[in-house]
Amino acid sequence: MDFFAGSLISGLQLGSIYALIAIGYSIVYGILRLINFAHGDLLMVATYGAWILIARGLSLPFAVIGSVLITVAFGLVIERAAYRPLRDAGEEATLITSLAVSIFLQNLFLMVFTPKNRAFALPGFFSEKLVLGGAGSITITNMSIVIFVVTGGLIAAVSLIIKKTRLGIAMRACAENSTAAKLMGVNLNAVVVFAFVVGSALAAVAGVLYSGQYVSFNPSMGFMIGIKAFAAAVIGGIGSFAGAAAGGVLLGVLEILFACYLPEGAGVYQTAFVFLVLIVVLLFKPNGLFGAAEGRRS
């Protein structure tokens, strides 16, 4: 039981990081029908950004803020330089372009930082443990608490922005029918920029949390996490905000439970099982768990 509770906490923690990343995939896809494979690499950019700033002597909070700004700048440059010129070129062209951007980013960082594994030297505070119950056998680290508070707070905040603000409503309108949104006076480019700012900022925070929690990183770190978060977005129903958040959490929990409970020898194939879940979900619900059934009219 206690082992289960512990795995569940780990799973929720990983899942909430996936959720942050999946939201970025989903809102950009919702508006542009673009699967932005470079999105995962923004985690890597954020991680190196924070790492450099810390090495320059910035305190942790400022390094994180700086890293978010750097990552948002990367996200915006990518949108402007790689995706906007291809806005009307079709989904295949932008998909391939996003793969190219991903490879470019990884190689750029390989050149600058070498493939060496790096790690944050986080203050001891983060690995201190709190006892939750089970007579001392269920514990949670301060890092986990930070992850839950930050991801929960960000998801709630972004959800409110999308629900209530003028730009948020415009974003949902563009996702449903961008032509009609233009006729309302919505500047599609402004909404796209907004989506990339939100997505990149969330990816940045996710990247720093992930690298802080799971120790070492290198320029290729974004690839696998990116693919998993993309799978989470698809499981939730790509284009749906709630779906991305739920899909992320679900995927994280399943991944950890597979790792902990699969029989000896199969546990190392946890990732394969995760994608098996994706396939099963799509077989029964092709639009994902929360996906909008209707297609886009434009």
Partner: protein, 236 residues
């Protein structure tokens, strides 16, 4: 108020509009009629900036606008209510109306317009918090027009507002269009329902295969032979 000169619009190799020239005077209802595929919707799309014309000019209140993007045109006061309504079915009625007023920052004006829209379409007030996806076709058309009014347009482009509506709704929509003109909003009305269009409008342009073939006072065109034979089924 609006003038198009030698306007040409193509989709790839398809020439949809082949050099048309027409005017819309302020304060009038002007209808643009013609058979399916004549190029009526394309003309509206070019005016509202959804498509760049291949050639020609569009002048609105003395300014060339053929290169302006849609959101700039909304700011200038040109609002396009597109074919088949295109309301945001996943959003609430309230959100649809809020989007209509997206470019209007004056809170006071917005609340006045909302009251006006509720006045002409009380059903929208009743359904204000509901999802607009559940509205009937007639209600959706009211929402589409109400939404367009939220930005305080000077020129309203209406693309087949009566299409697919029950006769009682057609009458309501036509009444509202006259009422809007009386309020000072200029209207360019695209209609397949030529009978209604001629009755309600001041002037009419007839489009065939992307070309203007006839222009006149609507009241007179009701008795024009070409119109009677081809568009009014030989009689009224």
């Amino acid at each position: 108020m609006l003038e198009a000169r030698n306007l040409k619009v193509s989709y790839g190799h398809i020439d949809a509009v082949r050099g048309i020239t027409f005017r819309v005077e302020a304060g009038e209802i002007v209808s643009l009629i013609g058979a399916n595929g004549a190029g009526k919707s394309t003309t509206l799309r070019a005016i509202s900036g959804l498509i760049r014309p291949r050639a020609g000019e569009i002048v609105f209140e003395g300014k060339p606008i053929e290169k302006a993007p849609p959101h700039e045109l909304v700011k200038l006061g040109i609002v396009h209510v597109p074919e088949s309504r295109q309301i945001f079915g996943r959003l609430s009625v309230a959100e649809n109306l809020a989007l209509g007023g997206y470019r209007a920052r004056d809170k006071h004006a917005l609340s006045e317009r909302l009251d006006y829209v509720f006045g002409i379409f009380p059903i929208l007030k009743e359904r204000y918090r509901r999802s607009s996806g559940v509205l009937s076709g007639g209600e959706q058309q009211m929402l589409a027009i109400g939404r367009a009014l939220m930005s305080g347009p000077k020129l309203l482009l209406l693309d087949e507002p009566s299409l697919g509506l029950a006769p009682i709704y057609v009458q309501r929509v036509m009444d509202v269009i006259s009422q809007l003109r009386d309020r000072g909003i200029t209207i360019l009305l695209v209609e397949q329902n030529v009978h209604e269009a001629l009755h309600i409008s001041d002037k009419t342009w007839l489009l065939e295969n992307g070309r203007i073939v006839l222009f006149g006072k609507s009241g007179e065109l009701l008795y024009n032979e070409q119109i009677r034979d081809s568009y009014l089924g030989g009689g009224i």
